[in-house]
Protein backbone atom coordinates (compact mmCIF):
# COMPACT_ATOMS: atom_id res chain seq x y z
CA UNK A 1 0.00 0.00 0.00
CA UNK A 2 1.42 3.40 -0.94
CA UNK A 3 1.26 6.45 1.31
CA UNK A 4 -1.40 8.01 -0.92
CA UNK A 5 -3.51 4.85 -0.65
CA UNK A 6 -3.17 4.83 3.16
CA UNK A 7 -4.26 8.47 3.26
CA UNK A 8 -7.22 7.76 0.97
CA UNK A 9 -8.21 4.78 3.12
CA UNK A 10 -8.06 6.87 6.32
CA UNK A 11 -10.07 9.66 4.72
CA UNK A 12 -12.62 7.05 3.66
CA UNK A 13 -12.88 5.78 7.25
CA UNK A 14 -13.38 9.31 8.60
CA UNK A 15 -16.02 10.07 5.96
CA UNK A 16 -17.71 6.75 6.71
CA UNK A 17 -17.79 7.56 10.44
CA UNK A 18 -19.26 10.97 9.70
CA UNK A 19 -21.88 9.40 7.43
CA UNK A 20 -22.78 6.85 10.14
CA UNK A 21 -23.28 9.61 12.71
CA UNK A 22 -25.32 11.68 10.26
CA UNK A 23 -27.34 8.56 9.43
CA UNK A 24 -28.02 7.97 13.14
CA UNK A 25 -29.08 11.59 13.53
CA UNK A 26 -31.43 11.16 10.56
CA UNK A 27 -32.91 7.98 12.09
CA UNK A 28 -33.55 9.70 15.44
CA UNK A 29 -35.06 12.68 13.60
CA UNK A 30 -37.31 10.28 11.72
CA UNK A 31 -38.31 8.67 15.03
CA UNK A 32 -39.20 12.09 16.42
CA UNK A 33 -41.61 12.64 13.51
CA UNK A 34 -42.95 9.10 13.83
CA UNK A 35 -43.53 9.60 17.57
CA UNK A 36 -46.01 12.36 16.76
CA UNK A 37 -48.18 9.74 15.05
CA UNK A 38 -47.27 6.61 16.97
CA UNK A 39 -45.62 7.13 20.35
CA UNK A 40 -45.41 3.48 21.37
CA UNK A 41 -43.62 2.02 18.34
CA UNK A 42 -41.32 5.04 17.91
CA UNK A 43 -40.35 4.99 21.60
CA UNK A 44 -39.61 1.26 21.60
CA UNK A 45 -37.44 1.56 18.49
CA UNK A 46 -35.71 4.66 19.90
CA UNK A 47 -34.96 2.88 23.18
CA UNK A 48 -33.54 -0.19 21.43
CA UNK A 49 -31.48 1.96 19.07
CA UNK A 50 -30.17 4.18 21.86
CA UNK A 51 -29.15 1.22 24.04
CA UNK A 52 -27.46 -0.43 21.05
CA UNK A 53 -25.51 2.69 20.11
CA UNK A 54 -24.39 3.32 23.71
CA UNK A 55 -23.32 -0.34 24.07
CA UNK A 56 -21.34 -0.38 20.81
CA UNK A 57 -19.66 2.95 21.60
CA UNK A 58 -18.90 1.66 25.10
CA UNK A 59 -17.06 -1.33 23.66
CA UNK A 60 -15.20 0.59 20.96
CA UNK A 61 -14.34 3.54 23.24
CA UNK A 62 -14.90 2.56 26.91
CA UNK A 63 -14.40 6.17 28.00
CA UNK A 64 -17.64 7.20 26.27
CA UNK A 65 -19.68 5.09 28.72
CA UNK A 66 -19.19 7.70 31.44
CA UNK A 67 -19.43 10.73 29.17
CA UNK A 68 -22.83 12.31 29.67
CA UNK A 69 -23.99 9.43 31.84
CA UNK A 70 -26.69 11.53 33.52
CA UNK A 71 -28.12 12.52 30.13
CA UNK A 72 -27.99 8.87 29.01
CA UNK A 73 -29.86 7.72 32.12
CA UNK A 74 -32.36 10.54 31.61
CA UNK A 75 -32.93 9.50 27.97
CA UNK A 76 -33.48 5.85 28.89
CA UNK A 77 -35.83 6.78 31.75
CA UNK A 78 -37.78 9.16 29.49
CA UNK A 79 -38.15 6.52 26.77
CA UNK A 80 -39.25 3.85 29.28
CA UNK A 81 -41.77 6.34 30.69
CA UNK A 82 -43.01 7.13 27.17
CA UNK A 83 -43.51 3.41 26.44
CA UNK A 84 -45.32 2.88 29.72
CA UNK A 85 -47.58 5.93 29.19
CA UNK A 86 -48.38 4.90 25.61
CA UNK A 87 -49.36 1.41 26.79
CA UNK A 88 -51.59 2.84 29.52
CA UNK A 89 -53.24 5.10 26.95
CA UNK A 90 -53.88 2.09 24.70
CA UNK A 91 -55.41 0.13 27.58
CA UNK A 92 -57.70 2.99 28.52
CA UNK A 93 -58.77 3.47 24.91
CA UNK A 94 -59.49 -0.24 24.36
Amino acid sequence: MTWAQVQAHDRGLVTQQLAINLGLAAVFLGLWFWAKKNVLAASVVALLLFITVVAINGVLEPGTLYQGIIVKIFFVAALVKAISAAQQERKLAA
Binding site: G23, V45, I56, A94
Partner: protein
Protein backbone atom coordinates in the same frame (compact mmCIF):
# COMPACT_ATOMS: atom_id res chain seq x y z
CA UNK B 1 -55.43 -8.57 -1.88
CA UNK B 2 -55.89 -8.15 1.87
CA UNK B 3 -54.09 -10.13 4.53
CA UNK B 4 -56.34 -12.26 6.71
CA UNK B 5 -55.93 -11.41 10.37
CA UNK B 6 -54.67 -14.28 12.48
CA UNK B 7 -54.99 -14.99 16.18
CA UNK B 8 -51.68 -14.12 17.88
CA UNK B 9 -52.18 -16.94 20.39
CA UNK B 10 -52.93 -19.94 18.16
CA UNK B 11 -52.33 -18.60 14.63
CA UNK B 12 -55.79 -19.53 13.30
CA UNK B 13 -57.39 -17.06 10.87
CA UNK B 14 -60.12 -14.89 12.38
CA UNK B 15 -63.52 -15.18 10.70
CA UNK B 16 -64.76 -11.85 9.31
CA UNK B 17 -66.32 -9.69 12.02
CA UNK B 18 -65.64 -12.34 14.69
CA UNK B 19 -64.93 -10.93 18.15
CA UNK B 20 -63.28 -14.16 19.34
CA UNK B 21 -60.92 -16.73 17.82
CA UNK B 22 -62.91 -19.79 16.76
CA UNK B 23 -59.99 -22.07 17.69
CA UNK B 24 -58.87 -20.90 21.13
CA UNK B 25 -61.53 -18.41 22.18
CA UNK B 26 -59.12 -15.50 22.61
CA UNK B 27 -60.57 -11.98 22.26
CA UNK B 28 -59.72 -10.49 18.87
CA UNK B 29 -58.72 -7.06 20.19
CA UNK B 30 -57.41 -8.10 23.57
CA UNK B 31 -54.58 -5.82 24.71
CA UNK B 32 -51.72 -7.31 26.70
CA UNK B 33 -49.02 -4.99 27.92
CA UNK B 34 -46.30 -7.47 28.82
CA UNK B 35 -45.45 -8.23 25.17
CA UNK B 36 -43.47 -5.00 24.71
CA UNK B 37 -41.47 -5.50 27.92
CA UNK B 38 -40.74 -9.12 27.03
CA UNK B 39 -39.50 -8.09 23.57
CA UNK B 40 -37.23 -5.40 24.98
CA UNK B 41 -35.77 -7.80 27.57
CA UNK B 42 -35.11 -10.50 24.96
CA UNK B 43 -33.49 -7.96 22.65
CA UNK B 44 -31.24 -6.69 25.47
CA UNK B 45 -30.21 -10.28 26.32
CA UNK B 46 -29.27 -10.90 22.67
CA UNK B 47 -27.52 -7.53 22.48
CA UNK B 48 -25.51 -8.49 25.58
CA UNK B 49 -24.12 -11.52 23.72
CA UNK B 50 -23.24 -9.39 20.70
CA UNK B 51 -21.49 -6.86 22.94
CA UNK B 52 -19.50 -9.64 24.63
CA UNK B 53 -18.53 -10.96 21.17
CA UNK B 54 -17.45 -7.44 20.19
CA UNK B 55 -15.34 -7.17 23.37
CA UNK B 56 -13.80 -10.58 22.67
CA UNK B 57 -12.86 -9.57 19.14
CA UNK B 58 -11.47 -6.25 20.43
CA UNK B 59 -9.17 -7.98 22.91
CA UNK B 60 -7.81 -10.15 20.13
CA UNK B 61 -9.87 -13.35 20.15
CA UNK B 62 -9.79 -15.18 16.82
CA UNK B 63 -12.85 -14.30 14.68
CA UNK B 64 -13.59 -18.00 14.16
CA UNK B 65 -14.12 -18.42 17.93
CA UNK B 66 -15.99 -15.14 18.27
CA UNK B 67 -18.41 -16.14 15.49
CA UNK B 68 -18.82 -19.72 16.71
CA UNK B 69 -19.30 -19.04 20.43
CA UNK B 70 -21.29 -15.86 19.76
CA UNK B 71 -23.69 -17.73 17.48
CA UNK B 72 -23.90 -20.58 19.99
CA UNK B 73 -24.74 -18.20 22.85
CA UNK B 74 -27.35 -16.36 20.80
CA UNK B 75 -28.94 -19.66 19.82
CA UNK B 76 -28.86 -20.90 23.41
CA UNK B 77 -30.63 -17.79 24.77
CA UNK B 78 -33.21 -17.91 21.99
CA UNK B 79 -33.99 -21.62 22.35
CA UNK B 80 -34.12 -21.39 26.16
CA UNK B 81 -36.55 -18.45 25.93
CA UNK B 82 -38.62 -20.33 23.36
CA UNK B 83 -38.75 -23.37 25.64
CA UNK B 84 -40.18 -21.23 28.44
CA UNK B 85 -42.56 -19.30 26.15
CA UNK B 86 -43.33 -22.05 23.65
CA UNK B 87 -46.96 -20.96 23.46
CA UNK B 88 -45.81 -17.92 21.48
CA UNK B 89 -44.21 -19.94 18.70
CA UNK B 90 -45.44 -23.55 18.80
CA UNK B 91 -48.51 -23.01 16.56
CA UNK B 92 -46.35 -21.46 13.81
CA UNK B 93 -44.12 -24.55 13.75
CA UNK B 94 -47.07 -26.88 13.23
CA UNK B 95 -47.88 -25.35 9.84
CA UNK B 96 -45.95 -25.73 6.61
CA UNK B 97 -47.25 -22.32 5.57
CA UNK B 98 -47.02 -22.32 1.78
CA UNK B 99 -47.40 -25.01 -0.87
CA UNK B 100 -44.53 -25.92 -3.23
CA UNK B 101 -45.33 -22.94 -5.47
CA UNK B 102 -45.04 -20.55 -2.55
CA UNK B 103 -41.63 -21.89 -1.60
CA UNK B 104 -40.58 -21.75 -5.26
CA UNK B 105 -41.54 -18.07 -5.36
CA UNK B 106 -39.53 -17.43 -2.18
CA UNK B 107 -36.57 -19.18 -3.82
CA UNK B 108 -36.96 -17.08 -6.99
CA UNK B 109 -37.09 -13.87 -4.93
CA UNK B 110 -33.83 -14.71 -3.12
CA UNK B 111 -31.42 -13.73 -5.96
CA UNK B 112 -33.28 -10.45 -6.49
CA UNK B 113 -33.06 -9.60 -2.78
CA UNK B 114 -29.39 -10.62 -2.70
CA UNK B 115 -28.59 -8.51 -5.78
CA UNK B 116 -30.16 -5.43 -4.17
CA UNK B 117 -28.20 -5.96 -0.95
CA UNK B 118 -24.94 -6.59 -2.87
CA UNK B 119 -25.47 -3.45 -4.97
CA UNK B 120 -25.97 -1.37 -1.81
CA UNK B 121 -22.87 -2.82 -0.10
CA UNK B 122 -20.76 -2.24 -3.23
CA UNK B 123 -22.12 1.28 -3.50
CA UNK B 124 -21.03 1.99 0.07
CA UNK B 125 -17.58 0.51 -0.51
CA UNK B 126 -17.12 2.62 -3.63
CA UNK B 127 -18.46 5.77 -1.98
CA UNK B 128 -16.09 5.59 0.99
CA UNK B 129 -13.26 3.54 -0.52
CA UNK B 130 -13.37 1.22 2.51
CA UNK B 131 -13.76 -2.48 1.76
CA UNK B 132 -15.50 -4.56 4.43
CA UNK B 133 -13.83 -7.91 5.16
CA UNK B 134 -15.95 -10.85 4.05
CA UNK B 135 -17.17 -13.63 6.34
CA UNK B 136 -14.83 -16.19 4.78
CA UNK B 137 -11.88 -13.84 5.12
CA UNK B 138 -12.68 -13.31 8.81
CA UNK B 139 -13.13 -17.06 9.37
CA UNK B 140 -9.78 -17.89 7.80
CA UNK B 141 -11.38 -19.45 4.71
CA UNK B 142 -13.21 -22.13 6.74
CA UNK B 143 -16.24 -22.82 4.53
CA UNK B 144 -17.67 -25.41 6.94
CA UNK B 145 -17.68 -22.95 9.86
CA UNK B 146 -19.05 -20.18 7.64
CA UNK B 147 -21.82 -22.54 6.50
CA UNK B 148 -22.73 -23.27 10.12
CA UNK B 149 -22.59 -19.77 11.60
CA UNK B 150 -23.92 -17.93 8.56
CA UNK B 151 -26.23 -20.25 6.62
CA UNK B 152 -27.60 -22.78 9.12
CA UNK B 153 -27.76 -21.13 12.55
CA UNK B 154 -29.11 -17.60 11.85
CA UNK B 155 -32.24 -18.72 9.95
CA UNK B 156 -33.03 -21.02 12.88
CA UNK B 157 -32.48 -18.78 15.90
CA UNK B 158 -32.94 -15.31 14.38
CA UNK B 159 -36.27 -16.31 12.89
CA UNK B 160 -37.26 -17.94 16.18
CA UNK B 161 -36.24 -14.79 18.09
CA UNK B 162 -37.58 -12.05 15.82
CA UNK B 163 -40.40 -13.61 13.77
CA UNK B 164 -41.27 -16.08 16.50
CA UNK B 165 -40.89 -14.79 20.06
CA UNK B 166 -40.72 -11.02 19.57
CA UNK B 167 -43.31 -11.04 16.79
CA UNK B 168 -45.62 -13.30 18.79
CA UNK B 169 -45.28 -11.27 22.00
CA UNK B 170 -45.75 -7.93 20.24
CA UNK B 171 -48.74 -9.20 18.26
CA UNK B 172 -50.62 -9.51 21.55
CA UNK B 173 -49.84 -5.95 22.58
CA UNK B 174 -49.58 -3.64 19.60
CA UNK B 175 -50.96 -3.14 16.11
CA UNK B 176 -49.75 -5.26 13.21
CA UNK B 177 -47.87 -2.40 11.52
CA UNK B 178 -46.06 -1.74 14.81
CA UNK B 179 -45.14 -5.42 15.14
CA UNK B 180 -43.56 -5.25 11.68
CA UNK B 181 -41.69 -2.04 12.46
CA UNK B 182 -40.37 -2.96 15.92
CA UNK B 183 -39.34 -6.54 15.12
CA UNK B 184 -37.66 -5.48 11.85
CA UNK B 185 -35.78 -2.62 13.53
CA UNK B 186 -34.68 -4.94 16.34
CA UNK B 187 -33.54 -7.56 13.81
CA UNK B 188 -31.53 -4.93 11.91
CA UNK B 189 -30.02 -3.32 15.01
CA UNK B 190 -28.79 -6.60 16.44
CA UNK B 191 -26.39 -6.83 13.50
CA UNK B 192 -24.55 -3.88 15.13
CA UNK B 193 -24.02 -1.93 11.95
CA UNK B 194 -25.66 1.39 11.15
CA UNK B 195 -25.09 1.12 7.35
CA UNK B 196 -26.72 -2.31 7.33
CA UNK B 197 -29.92 -0.87 8.82
CA UNK B 198 -30.89 0.13 5.29
CA UNK B 199 -30.66 -3.46 4.07
CA UNK B 200 -31.75 -5.37 7.16
CA UNK B 201 -34.90 -3.37 7.94
CA UNK B 202 -36.43 -4.18 4.50
CA UNK B 203 -35.21 -7.78 4.91
CA UNK B 204 -36.89 -7.95 8.33
CA UNK B 205 -40.11 -6.53 6.88
CA UNK B 206 -40.01 -9.12 4.09
CA UNK B 207 -39.52 -11.98 6.59
CA UNK B 208 -42.32 -10.58 8.77
CA UNK B 209 -44.60 -10.45 5.75
CA UNK B 210 -43.80 -14.10 4.93
CA UNK B 211 -44.54 -15.11 8.52
CA UNK B 212 -47.79 -13.15 8.54
CA UNK B 213 -48.92 -14.30 5.10
CA UNK B 214 -48.24 -17.97 5.79
CA UNK B 215 -49.01 -18.18 9.52
CA UNK B 216 -45.87 -20.33 9.73
CA UNK B 217 -42.20 -19.89 10.57
CA UNK B 218 -40.90 -22.04 7.73
CA UNK B 219 -41.25 -19.64 4.75
CA UNK B 220 -39.28 -16.86 6.50
CA UNK B 221 -36.69 -19.39 7.68
CA UNK B 222 -36.37 -20.67 4.11
CA UNK B 223 -36.05 -17.12 2.72
CA UNK B 224 -33.42 -16.29 5.35
CA UNK B 225 -31.54 -19.51 4.56
CA UNK B 226 -31.59 -18.75 0.80
CA UNK B 227 -30.35 -15.21 1.37
CA UNK B 228 -27.49 -16.20 3.66
CA UNK B 229 -26.53 -19.08 1.37
CA UNK B 230 -26.43 -16.60 -1.49
CA UNK B 231 -24.15 -14.30 0.53
CA UNK B 232 -21.76 -17.17 1.22
CA UNK B 233 -21.79 -18.46 -2.37
CA UNK B 234 -21.28 -14.95 -3.73
CA UNK B 235 -18.24 -14.55 -1.53
CA UNK B 236 -16.95 -18.04 -2.24
CA UNK B 237 -17.17 -17.72 -6.04
CA UNK B 238 -16.44 -14.00 -6.21
CA UNK B 239 -19.83 -13.07 -7.69
CA UNK B 240 -20.17 -9.97 -5.59
Amino acid sequence: MTLEERCPACGAAFKPDAAFCAECGRKRHEIETEGVGFSIKLYIALLGVQVLALIASKVGALPIYVFSYGTGALALITFATAAVHRGLVAPQYRRVGFGPLGYLLVLCAAPVVLALVAAYVHGLERAFGVAQPGYLEQLGGRVDVAFGVLVIAPPLFEELAFRGLIYGALAKSVRRSEVYAISSFAFAMLHLSVPSLLTHIPLGLYFCWLRERSGSMYPSMFAHFCHNLGVLLAELYGWA
